[in-house]
Symmetry: C2
Subunit: 226 residues, 2 copies
DNA sequence: GAACTCTATCAACACTGTGTCGAGTGTGTC
DNA sequence: GACACACTCGACACAGTGTTGATAGAGTTC
C-alpha cells in the first residue's frame, strides 16, 4: 500500500531545483501536456464520476500513453488534487470579498452576499466539488485539504458571531465556534445535495433563501436582525 | 462495467422459491457462513475503511475461499448494503418512538428526545455509518437506499413543522419541506463529521445541544418555544 | 560534429483485485 | 445406488495501477 502522502505538484524533478521554485525556462511542450491532462480531467468529470475515470482515460484524452502520464503526475488523485487546489483558491477570493461586505453594515444583506458568492463559486465548478467529495472518502491528502478549507470558514464565521454578540446585535447562546461548525457543515451538505441532484435536495433557486434564513435565526434568534 | 442494480439479498436461488420468502428449512451450514461474512465485515469496518477491505479479506475472515464468498454474496458492496439495511431498520425504530414523544406535549423536550435517539442509534454503529457514506459515492443502490431514508425523515419533520405552524406554536416562514431538508441534512453532516473525527467537528457531547438549538430557532424563531 | 545531458516517450512487465467457470465433494432422499 | 442439491475451490480472464528500461530527439559543450 502506498504511503499516506503523495506529492501533487507535477514538477518532474522531485525536489525543487536550486532554491527558487520558478517555472521552467523556454521549454514548453511539457507544460502543454500537463495542461492537457488537467483539462481532460475537468472535461471527463463533467461526464462521469471520478471512480469511472482511469489513468488511461486521462492519458488518452491528453494524447499520450499511460506511462507518460506518470511522468507528469504521480497518480490520478494528484491530478484531481491540483484541480481542487484551484477551486479552493477561487473560493478564497469570494470569501475575502464576502467578509468585507459583512463587516460594514446590514448583517442580513452582508450574510446573504457572502453565502451567495460562495455558492456561486462552487456551482460554477459543480463537477469539481463532486469529485472532491468522492476523493475525500479514500484519500487522506484530500481530507486534509478540505479540513483546512472548512477550518478557515469556521474561524471566519466564529469571529463574525463573536463580534455581533459583543456589539449586542446577537444574543448569547451556544459557543460561537460550535454554532459556526454546524452552520458551515450544513451549507456544505445542502449545497452538495443540490449539486448532485440528490433525492431530498433543495431546488437550486431555494438554497440561498433557506440557508440565509437558518443562519439568521441561529445567530440572531430571528430572521430580521436589528 | 456491471449493470446498475445488483441484488443484495444473499439467497442462493435467484428468485424467491415458491411464493413465501421464509428461511431455508433445517439446512444450517450455509446460514452460518453468511453470518460469518457479515460479522467479519462489521469487525473489519471497525478497523479500517471499506476501500481497504477486499473480498478476499471477507472470505478469509469467514474461513472460506474467495469463489465461495461469491456463492453467498454477489459482491463486497452487497454485504455492506445488507449491513446498512439493518442499521436503517434499527433507526426506523427510534424514529417511531421519537415521533410519538414529540406528538404529545413540550416540543423542546420532544425534539431533543427524537434527535437524541437517532444520534444514539447511529453512534452505536459508527463504523457502519462511515461505510455507508463511503459506499454512497460509488454505488447507486446505496445512494437510493440512503435517499429513501432521508426522504422519510424529511417527510416526518415537514409534517411536524406544519402541525406546529397550524396550531400557532411556530411562526410562518420558508416552506416547511425546504426547512426540513436543510435541517435533516445538517444533522447528517454534523453527525458524520463527529463520527469521523474530522478536523472541524463538534465534540461528541456538544452535538445534541447545538443541533437542538438550531432546530428550535429555525422552526420556532427562538430557542424557547411556547 | 562527436560526445554528453536532459526531457520526454512508450512497450513490456509485475502486481493487486474482481468476478466467472467448471470440476469436484459430501449429505440426504427416493 | 443413483440422483439431486448445497456447497467448495483451483484456475482462469480481465481491468486497473504503477515501474522498468530502452530509446528518441533537442540543446549544449568542446
Amino acid at each position: 500500500m502506498p504511503a499516506a502522502s503523495e506529492a501533487r505538484r507535477p514538477s518532474p524533478a522531485a525536489e525543487p531545483k536550486g532554491k527558487g521554485r520558478g517555472r521552467r525556462g523556454t521549454r514548453a511542450s511539457g507544460d502543454d501536456r500537463e495542461r492537457a491532462i488537467l483539462e481532460t480531467a475537468e472535461r471527463l468529470l463533467e461526464e462521469r464520476p471520478l471512480s469511472e475515470i482511469s489513468v488511461d482515460d486521462l492519458a488518452k484524452g491528453a494524447g499520450i500513453s499511460r506511462p507518460t502520464f506518470y511522468f507528469y503526475f504521480p497518480s490520478k488523485d494528484a491530478v484531481v488534487l491540483t484541480i481542487i487546489d484551484r477551486l479552493v483558491a477561487a473560493a478564497a477570493g469570494s470569501r475575502e470579498e464576502a467578509l468585507a461586505t459583512l463587516a460594514q453594515g446590514d448583517p442580513h444583506a452582508g450574510l446573504r452576499r457572502g453565502l451567495e458568492d460562495l455558492y456561486g463559486a462552487f456551482r460554477e465548478r459543480r463537477a469539481v466539488v463532486l469529485a472532491a467529495a468522492e476523493l475525500r472518502t479514500t484519500n487522506q491528502e484530500a481530507r486534509d485539504l478540505w479540513a483546512e478549507v472548512m477550518e478557515g470558514w469556521v474561524a471566519d464565521v466564529t469571529a463574525v458571531i463573536e463580534v455581533e454578540r459583543a456589539r449586542g446585535a446577537a444574543p448569547p447562546g451556544e459557543p460561537a465556534r460550535d454554532l459556526a461548525i454546524a452552520l458551515v457543515q450544513m451549507n456544505e451538505r445542502v449545497q452538495y445535495a443540490t449539486f448532485a441532484d440528490e433525492s431530498p435536495s433543495l431546488a437550486d433557486d431555494r438554497v440561498l433563501d433557506v440557508l440565509v434564513d437558518i443562519w439568521l435565526r441561529a445567530i440572531y434568534g430571528t430572521a430580521e436582525p436589528g
